[in-house]
Symmetry: C2
Subunit: 355 residues, 2 copies
């Protein structure tokens, strides 16, 4: 069956899996919808994307993705409102960041219209897959990787761009305990930390596993020179509240320019919360924890939205954070999710309607 | 057709492609043999490897290799002597390094016997693919990657280990010009630079491309703190000869522990060449180039063996290296390749006979 949705060719799946899915008990990113968007870069250009049934990809063993880690991705969500309307949150930011990552990984840039038109068509087709339950959403995973062949360590000549969809529940449940990293690091100066490159994530698994063995769910990444400044929280940006000021590290070539992070900065300003974008030393955080001025810490990212931190470990000591009646984390999470789910005015113009 | 070679199950290819191959004009790593070795990690264990026809791999779009860069590899060669004997060079070193990389990338360790027995059986089956021409060899690519599914950023539960073979000519032809890097870097302190992780290589492509646009074939990587010390040459270890002393950087968590590098150190000692394993500052190299004490620089690695450097660029200046009648690079390359191709005594016990 071939059809067109929004100018995108669609090869429809013979049957739908949607009735097999328990939408009341969704894990994160482990159930996939019926279709995906695919575009191939061959002979020097990206071909028009098309929608095909979600299914296996076949690659030569010599495809460079297996050898040289030439891969990037994005993470977005589609949100359903009470009337059944479906919304995206600042999707052009993801589109632009994908191409920024592409440049650093020597992957050819994708035309923005292929990303946006393809995504819209895919979501229109799959709109029934966007869950309605509070806190759940349709997780969107655009990704690109080297499908071209060869054992020579150089960029591939062929690539694949895919968008796959996964109806998902919450990423974390509850507050997390974190470990401030003193030995390992996720990014080098002059490296690829600011890009959403696959390799950045694999490198985090081992230190995160060591932290988990000690009872911490996440690692707070520090600079790789002296582990002196805190930079990110797992795969999220990090915020620290000292007294009533909300502080986050400046973006750099080691830190991802998170969309949640910059939205939170805007919302905080709108809420008359004092914000500072500056380096945050571990010393400062530990001292503030000791003298009681450290009120909150949280991670911010698309998957977990705002992830409050219950306490942190550093140099063998544990520091608990207070439980507040009125936390910034809760207030900011409410405001951002109210915008995302079309429950409140969108004064920043961030929402993008799908259907 | 099922058979056994060396206790490894073999599913033979219906036909061979060997007669289509022009063994006199082999590129590097772009022609593949008839068979590959495959083992799967499922249900918590590596299954016995088997040999199957070389052909496509089918993976879910949600396989973690596409998203989180969980992949590692090795590079080895099989060499043919004049009598048709086939040899490996220190293969256990690759086997051990693969598992060292695996640990850092949170990939389950492979039993050494699966690696060695599988490799030997595969090479015995494919021995006619080992080229005879001078300078050519059968390039061996063991690799491992996350085949398990999920958009959650955490280690996969399934992996694949594959060995593929590619009859290959020389990696570089002639001397290369290199650029000492002042901005980009390949590895972080506490990162994965010492592992053969796929992501390390993709991260090198862009800076290497920028260098190529300026007329340099390779980048000399420097530390990411201050770009003060030289660390590697492209995907090779780096050697510098000042006066008659051969110097190489110490291995660290940023530098790969190269098998060629350590073999060259042993051979140099045997040749009564003074060696030093210590940090090499860019300043020292530039000064030595200026005052004429810098005699040679070369890269060392399995693919290119020894890759002499003709000159380097730094801060907009070009420095040429002298052309010597008796270079260490040439002498050491001859000694190591004489051992590899069974043309000389193997006093270190490095050769390993396949057939
Ligand atoms: C390393 C890292 N930092 C921060 C973020 C948060 O970015 P965003 O808010 O755009 O999702 C992400 C991904 O989501 C990430 O992978
Ligand atoms: C980054 C890097 N450095 C050095 C080397 C040299 O190692 P070996 O001599 O074991 O091939 C390699 C690979 O071959 C490498 O990828």
């Amino acid at each position: 069956m071939e059809a067109m949705v929004n100018n995108i060719r669609v090869e429809k799946a013979a049957t739908s899996k949607i009735h097999d899915v328990d939408f009341d008990n969704l894990a994160f990113g482990s159930t996939y919808t019926d279709h995906m968007l695919v575009s191939d870069f061959v002979n020097g250009e990206w071909k028009e994307p098309k929608i095909v049934p979600y299914g296996p990809i076949s690659l030569e063993p010599s495809a460079k993705i297996f050898h040289y880690g030439q891969s990037i991705f994005e993470g977005m969500k589609a949100y359903k409102d009470v009337e059944g309307g479906v919304w995206l949150f600042r999707p052009m930011e993801n589109c632009k960041r994908l191409n920024k990552s592409a440049e650093r990984l020597t992957i050819p840039e994708l035309p923005e219209s292929y990303f946006m038109d393809g995504l819209m068509a895919l979501l229109q087709l799959e709109k029934d897959w966007v869950p309605k339950n509070p806190g759940s959403s349709l997780y969107i995973r655009p990704f690109m990787f080297a499908s071209g062949s060869g054992f020579h360590a150089s960029p591939a000549d062929e690539y694949k761009f895919i968008i796959a969809l996964a109806p998902s529940g919450a990423y974390f449940s509850g507050k997390v305990k974190v470990l401030i990293e003193e030995k390992y690091s996720r990014a080098a100066n002059g490296g690829v930390g600011y890009a959403k490159a696959g390799g950045n994530y694999a490198g985090q698994f081992y230190p995160t596993q060591l932290a988990a063995e000690k009872g911490y769910q996440q690692v707070i990444w520090t600079d790789d020179n002296n582990h002196e400044f805190i930079e990110e929280a797992g795969a999220m940006n990090v915020f620290v509240r000292i007294n009533d000021t909300l502080i986050t590290a400046p973006t750099s070539d080691r830190i991802l320019d998170g969309i949640t992070r910059k939205s939170i900065l805007d919302i905080a300003e709108d809420e008359n919360i004092a914000t500072e974008v500056r380096k945050i030393s571990v010393h400062e955080v530990v001292e503030a924890a000791k003298n009681g001025t450290l009120k909150e810490m949280f991670g911010a990212g698309t998957a977990a939205v705002v992830s409050p931190i219950a306490g942190f470990g550093y140099k063998g000591m544990d520091y608990d954070l207070p439980v507040l009646a009125e936390s910034y984390a809760e207030k900011l999470k409410k405001r951002i999710t109210d915008i995302q789910y079309n429950r409140a005015e969108d004064k920043f113009g961030w929402r993008h309607q799908v259907v």
